[in-house]
């Protein structure tokens, strides 16, 4: 299947997207000339491609941008090279296996562009395909329970995946379902890192499950010191004022003994220290309380997810990127449902009835997407 697309470049190289359901798209190779496979997911946000591509929650996935023109404003690269301080990056590198776009714009004139999207992909050795009818592809992804894809060109070779630990034993011709693996070793920090103003009064211990940098930026902006902990830390005897369990990729049940350590060393020993779970962190926390999680028919991956706060009777626009969700009926008696999705009524947030424990399925740190729920971070910091 071919959708011819235009690009403002001369050299056009063909690329293909083979789906696990047998459908094959033709298009134009963009980024690295490389063969990759991944789980097919999409995002319907119209802006924020660099934030999405560096979002660790997309680990092992091929990301389809439904919007028809991607790359318009390039990739922000600050002059001093400090990506952490530059908005637009949510981790130090691209985390998606590859991307699929309709039209790629590979010049960029935005004042905050450092490089074009395509040269950034090349420099990070990430391939993609342009010229695909992404609306059609989104429909295919939406309709299938599990769809995998392979991006390749006429001369790309089968090689071993080497970028992320969990892919090491596979080659780029095999479809790998990331949810079948514990992705934490692939994405979490290897050692403790202390960040923020060392004189800051409050200190947050952060369980890094593949954290988005904007969560850290927001804590630091709110005058917190952050101790970023590897996922396999035992969390006991950490000196801190509160806990944050971060977002991240994969099935919350496929995280080794992480849930157990959260339950024993964070949740159960703790009576007063505030806890905030975000996205995967919310699911992990819920599992730790004894609730259950399930895989959604199709995930929420967009900037326009309406969430409804039950205590406030107020709705917010939120940015989301998840496939799993907390089972509503499994919510433990000492917890209240805090937020629900206004479209499909799935669980979007939990709040403890007596203790300062909160967790949300959506991304209060946004980036990319609307900032409407950033007050949740404020609220958490106030609790500290």
């Amino acid at each position: 299947m071919v959708k011819h697309s235009y690009r403002l470049t001369r050299n056009v190289k063909k690329a293909y997207l083979q789906l696990s359901n047998g459908i094959k798209f033709s298009g134009i190779a963009i980024g690295a000339n490389k063969q990759v496979t991944g789980e097919m997911v999409f995002n319907t946000g119209m802006l924020g491609y660099s934030e999405a591509m560096t979002d660790p929650s997309y680990l092992g996935q091929i990301l389809v941008f439904s919007f028809c023109m991607i790359g318009n404003y390039g990739i922000p690269i600050p002059k001093n090279g400090n990506l952490f301080m530059s908005k637009g990056h949510e981790s130090s590198s691209i985390k998606t296996q590859g991307i699929v776009v309709s039209n790629l714009y590979d010049e960029a004139y935005h004042h905050d562009r450092g490089v074009s999207l395509e040269s950034w992909m090349k420099s990070q050795d990430v391939p993609g395909i342009a010229g695909v009818d992404t609306r059609y592809l989104v429909q295919l992804v939406r309709k299938s329970k599990n769809l995998f894809g392979k991006i390749f060109t006429d001369d790309s070779v089968i090689q071993t995946h080497n970028k992320f630990y969990f892919l090491n034993k596979f080659n780029s011709n095999e479809y790998v379902d990331p949810s079948k693996y514990n992705l934490m070793p692939s994405i979490s920090t290897k050692s403790k890192i202390i960040m923020g103003n060392k004189y800051a009064k409050r200190k947050v211990a952060v369980v890094d499950c593949g954290i988005k940098w904007n969560i850290l930026r927001m804590l630091i902006d709110r005058n917190c010191k952050v101790e970023l902990l590897p996922w396999d830390n035992n969390f006991a005897h950490i000196d801190c004022d509160g806990w944050l369990i971060s977002n991240g990729p994969g099935d919350p049940k496929n995280t080794g003994d992480l849930v157990k350590r959260i339950r024993n060393n964070i949740l159960n020993v703790n009576k007063t220290k505030p806890i905030l779970g975000i996205c995967l962190g919310h699911q992990l926390l819920a599992l730790a309380t004894g609730a259950d999680t399930k895989r959604l028919a199709h995930g929420h991956r967009s900037h326009n997810q309406p969430v409804f706060s039950l205590p406030e009777k107020k709705a917010y626009m939120s940015s989301q990127n998840h496939r799993y969700s907390v089972e509503r009926h499994s919510i433990q008696p000492d917890w209240n449902l805090w937020f629900e999705n206004a479209n499909d009524h799935s669980v979007e947030g939990l709040i403890h009835k007596t203790k300062p424990f909160i967790s949300v399925q959506f991304h209060p740190e946004a980036s990319s997407g609307p900032n409407d729920t950033s007050w949740i971070i404020d609220y958490f910091v106030k609790l500290l």
């Binding site: 235009y6 404003y73 010049e107 935005h110 989104v138 900032n371």
Partner: protein, 1106 residues
């Protein structure tokens, strides 16, 4: 119950809500308010409310009768709204769906205490917030309070202050006037001289003007915000102007969603928009406009509109989120979460649409229609309509949109600046007119860089790079063909076109189609490379040749695909019937498997323009709804975002698409309809009948032959001769010699017009040799290909129209109406009366008989409009339109006989009996009057002639002619003078006629000024007159500038170039200063005669409702 308590029915009686419309269409306030208003009416009626509509715009859909609504066709002024409030005793009033007019009116009603007195609540955003959004100073204060950045700006009320503040801020500065729609009285000043000029005229319209820093070159970005009473807030859409700050948004090319900003900027501006809506306690919709610095993250809030607007209509069409409908539910008490989006039927109304396509709006200007108007664009809006293109890439949408907005089908490749030199093009880039986009294209054609154009225009390079790409592609293709078509002979056939495009690869052809080239453009491009062909091709020929490419595409399987607009980017399945076509895709969202095989496609009117406006959308809406009710698959094609016909609920499937030959054929291929209706959308779709007929498309209604016979002047006249029907002497001249010969025979004055006339383009009356030469110089060369039609112009003749419907050559119904103005004023500008008041029964009988003959002779089968001139009982036919006419809604509503519906019955081939209307049963008189927008068109001479110049119209009802006339005039801003009146009364015989109303004018007891000739005559009749002069004191223009008069009657002796020039300065000054201006004697007489009933009308207790 989500509805506010006081709106709940009491004792089974529905509560009444007043909804104000926006009145006549004018520049800056056009069809978008019929769209928002009619969505609101629907939303309110669904909630068990009775809607009282006050709007004199008789051609609007919202003023259609309905079970739960009552229509008052009255001027939207506090006086008349108060009268209606007294009669109807409504529970509430809604201000936000009728533009600035309605908003201002409600604010005044609140300030004067009327609302409190009658206990009428204002729904939606409250007056306090409206004040902040309307008053510049309050706005500035409020923005500072919530830390929203605003550009330094100072409110001033006199010239000295203005100069001082401008000096402080530093030039260039922007002048804005408070309380004005569409940026009236605003401007951009580089220095103190320019500033003086702008401030002077701004202060005349507004007590307060604003001087602020110029943000020339900054990006202009807008957010549409929706908020409910509990504070849930979303942004529906953001939009970015292609033209940076400095050009009014209404005159800018606008893309939605924003394309050149990143996620950080988007959320920064979005957060601010939400914060503003929150702080103002908006209930319903509002929009926030920003200027964003293109080199850093700095921005300013420019303005907010706490009401539905042009942008909200555009945003609704761009996203598929019906903003006005939802806003109406919110103002009566619903929360966003309680509502679903009725377009998708699945998503919550608390949902920010995600798009997987882009939309581009291009304004339509008709500046050629006004003599003397400056074509430069600035902070004052000048466009009269707009189109929106939907596609998957920027090249595609800009190409589509430029084809939609002008009917020549060449789009961006039109050679407007082809012959211009570089200096002329540079000038266009630097000081833009409505044609700048073509200058940019030509610059790129000439090999200039993106930087070159950016430095001159400040347009974002992202946009420019795409335009460059189109130009480069065109050039590449041309070079390819020049190399290969050298051998083509001096003729070119459809097969040659087919063959030539066979030579390029299939992939490349798909690519060309994906970036928006039409078959027509590709054909034209090929022809331009055939260097041996020296003559130019007509549109008709190129269309025919372009079928070669169509044939090739079909053979290669290259088709556009249908995509849905669903607000969710396919994340959720939806039932949306809102569609567009693109070549940039491979998969159809809809299948025609479930088609019932009885589809009827209604072709809409396209962009509003002078001569084709709301009234044709009304006809299209009637048609589409009719076939929908008849259980046909009712399909609409239209590309005008301001229309009601492009509302999701009007049809079963809406194709928001080009009304071009190619695209209509594409849709026919997809839909396989039973037939096409092309006679209800005005001239634009009417022009498609002949080419569509040639490819065997089934057109409902008149046959192609009928249409051709009526449109082709030569055929038309020949048939009239055969039928023994009188017409003014005429000839079709192919050379100057023939023109001269004809004039020798019939004498001046003569009417000249090019062969294909659309609302009188380039039509003129020549009274002497000088004007003849002048007008001929305006038209293209006269030749066999471009003949002009000249006819004897009959002066002092009455103009009469007959609207009706025929079936198979028999009249079903015919209704006669008369013009107040004598022949010579375009029928679209004339004041029309129905039922006629001043024609002899004998004349009506002759006309009806002539109509019968014409209907038979041309075998009319559908809606028609025939125009006559009458002098005594001598009747001559001047025009026959084999289509629905501008006056259809007016005649239908006044007579209570829906002509559009009857026309649909004919097209549906239903049995229908002849309808005879007993006019004595009509208890009222209707007057339709035209609204002019001269005030916005700097330099335009506000005279009316054979070329149409009005931008809108009203229709008012009265128990007699005088009442209806006074109301219609007030609704078109002709207002009873209170300060003084200035007269110049024309020819001697006009002066005599004028005496008929002089007493009524004298009774006004205000100073009367007159130019010398008129003054002398009036003094000789015993009136006390102040004489004014052309060029010595007291000068006529000075008393206008000084505000000593607020009404100017200025009747030209004739329409010769000299005479027009002499009086132009008086008229222009009068318009600029906001005076009521009348330039037609018959209209003056009718108006001032009506003053005899003035007191009676203004003291009535019950207004007439429809």
């Amino acid at each position: 119950m989500p509805i506010l308590d006081f709106l709940l029915a009491k004792q089974g009686r529905k509560q009444k809500v007043i909804l104000l419309g926006s009145g006549a269409l004018s520049i800056g306030q056009a069809g978008e308010f019929d769209y928002s208003g009619s969505q609101a009416v629907k939303a309110l009626e669904e909630e068990n409310l009775k809607v009282i509509i006050i709007n004199p715009n008789i051609a609007s859909v919202q003023t259609n009768k309905g079970k739960n609504r009552k229509i008052y066709l009255y001027p939207i002024t506090p006086f008349w709204v108060t009268k209606v409030i007294q009669t109807e005793k409504p529970a509430a009033i809604i201000s936000s769906f009728g533009g600035q007019t309605s908003l201002n009116c409600v604010i005044q009603l609140d300030k004067s205490g009327v609302l409190r007195k009658y206990n009428v609540k204002v729904l939606g955003t409250q007056i306090k917030s409206l004040d902040i959004s309307e008053n510049r100073e309050l706005f500035s204060q409020h923005m500072k309070c919530i830390n929203a950045p605003i550009a330094n700006s100072y409110a001033v009320s006199n010239m000295t202050e203005a100069l001082k503040k401008a000096k402080n801020i530093g030039y260039p500065v922007i002048v804005r006037s408070a309380f004005a729609l569409g940026g009236l009285g605003s401007g951009f000043a580089q220095n103190s001289t320019e500033l003086k000029k702008i401030v002077q005229s701004a202060l005349m319209n507004s007590p307060q003007v604003l001087i602020e820093k110029s943000l020339h070159g900054w990006k202009e970005i807008e957010y549409e915000v929706m908020r409910d009473k509990t504070g849930n807030t979303i942004t529906i859409c953001n939009m970015e102007n292609f033209d940076p700050m400095g050009i009014h948004t209404g005159d800018s090319i606008v893309i939605a969603p924003c394309q050149t900003i990143n996620n950080i900027e988007n959320n920064m501006l979005r957060d601010m928009a939400l914060q503003i809506a929150q702080s103002l306690n908006i209930v319903g919709e509002c929009n926030v406009q920003y200027a964003l610095n293109p080199i850093d993250y700095k921005f300013f809030v420019i303005e907010i509109n706490a009401r539905l607007s042009r942008s909200s209509a555009l945003a609704s069409k761009a996203t598929g989120y019906p903003i006005a409908y939802i806003a109406a539910k919110i103002v009566i008490g619903f929360e966003l979460l309680e509502l679903k989006n009725p377009v998708t039927k699945t998503t919550s109304a608390f949902y920010e649409p995600s798009l997987d396509y882009v939309t581009l709006k291009i304004p339509r200007w008709d500046l050629n229609k006004f003599t003397g108007v400056s074509k430069n664009l600035g902070t004052q809006m000048k466009s009269v309509g707009e189109v929106m293109a939907i596609g998957k890439n920027f090249c595609e949408v800009i190409q589509k949109a430029l084809r939609m907005v002008n009917e020549n089908e060449s789009g961006i490749t039109t050679n407007i600046f082809f012959a211009a030199n570089d200096a002329q093009i540079d000038k266009e880039l630097l000081s833009p007119t409505n044609l700048r986009i073509f200058a940019i294209y030509e610059t790129f054609r000439r090999g200039r860089s993106i930087d070159y154009v950016h430095n001159k225009t400040k347009i974002d390079k992202w946009f420019l790079s795409h335009i460059l790409y189109i130009a480069t592609t065109e050039k590449k293709l041309k070079n390819f063909f020049i190399a290969s078509t050298r051998n083509l002979k001096t003729k070119i056939t459809m097969h040659d076109v087919y063959q030539s495009y066979c030579n390029i690869s299939k992939d490349y052809l798909i690519h060309l189609k994906s970036i928006g080239f039409s078959d027509f453009q590709l054909t034209k491009l090929l022809i331009s490379t055939c260097l041996n062909i020296k003559y130019s091709f007509s549109i008709k020929t190129i269309r025919k040749l372009s079928l070669g490419i169509r044939k090739l595409r079909i053979k290669l399987g290259i088709f556009p695909v249908v995509k849905q607009i669903d607000t969710t980017s396919a994340e959720y399945p939806t039932k949306s019937n809102y569609l567009y076509l693109t070549y940039d895709g491979i998969h159809n969202d809809i299948s025609n498997k479930n088609n019932k095989g009885n589809g009827v496609i209604t072709l809409g009117s396209g962009s509003y323009r002078i001569g084709s406006s709301l009234e044709f959308d009304w006809c299209s809406v009637m048609t589409s709804k009719y076939f929908k009710n008849k259980k046909n698959d009712s399909i609409i094609i239209n590309c005008n975002p301001e229309t009601v016909s492009t509302d999701y609920s009007i049809s079963d499937r809406l194709y928001f698409e080009e009304l071009s030959f190619e695209r209509v054929l594409d849709i026919i291929d997809i839909e396989q309809p039973k037939g096409i209706v092309a006679c209800m959308g005005g001239q634009n779709p009417n022009n498609l009948i002949s080419p569509l007929n040639k490819v065997k498309v089934h057109i409902l209604g008149h046959s192609n032959k009928t249409v051709e016979n009526a449109e082709d002047r030569t055929k038309f006249s020949a048939i009239l001769d055969k039928l023994n029907i009188n017409q003014p002497e005429w000839t079709s001249a192919t050379s100057y010699d023939e023109v001269t010969k004809f004039i020798e025979k019939v004498g001046f004055p003569v009417l000249i017009r090019p062969s294909f006339v659309l609302s009188g383009t380039l039509m003129n009356v020549a009274h002497d040799q000088k004007s003849l030469d002048h007008y001929l110089s305006l038209t293209k060369n006269i030749s066999v290909d471009y003949p002009i039609v000249i006819s004897k112009f009959i002066i002092d003749a009455k103009e009469i129209e007959c609207d009706g419907v025929a079936k198979n050559g028999e009249v079903i119904i015919s209704l006669v109406s008369e013009h107040i103005e004598n022949a010579g004023v375009h029928s679209g500008d004339a004041t029309m009366v129905f039922p006629p008041q001043k024609i002899y029964t004998r004349t009506v009988n002759i006309i009806k008989d002539t109509v019968r003959k014409i209907v038979k002779g041309f075998n009319l089968n559908g809606p028609f409009n025939i125009q006559f001139i009458a002098k005594n009982n001598d009747i001559k036919v001047i025009e026959c339109n084999a289509r629905a006419s501008r006056s259809f809604p007016f005649i239908s509503k006044v007579s209570n006989i829906n002509l559009a519906e009857i026309a649909c019955k004919v097209m549906n081939n239903e049995h229908i009996n002849k309808i005879i209307l007993d006019e004595s049963e009509i208890q009222h008189v209707g007057v339709k009057a035209s609204m002019f927008s001269f005030q916005r068109l700097d330099g335009a001479d506000p005279i009316v002639g054979v070329e149409m110049a009005s931008t809108g119209e009203v229709g008012c009802l009265g128990k007699n002619f005088n009442h209806a006339m006074l109301l219609a005039m007030e609704a078109t801003k002709i207002i009873k003078p209170t300060k003084g009146i200035l007269l110049s009364t024309g020819r001697d015989k006009d002066k005599i006629k004028f005496m008929e109303v002089m007493d009524n004018i004298y009774k006004l007891n205000i100073p009367i000024y007159a130019t010398k000739g008129s003054a002398k005559y009036l003094e000789s009749k015993g009136y006390k007159i102040n004489i004014v002069h052309w060029n010595r004191k007291p000068r006529a223009v000075d008393i206008i500038l000084n505000g000593q008069v607020d009404f100017v009657i200025n009747i030209s002796k004739n329409l010769s170039v000299n005479e027009l020039y002499n009086n132009a300065s008086i008229r222009k000054t009068a318009v600029k200063c906001g005076c009521s201006v009348l330039t037609n004697l018959e209209k003056v007489i009718a108006y001032f005669n009506a003053y005899s009933s003035y007191n009676e009308l203004y003291s009535i207790n019950r207004c007439l409702s429809l």
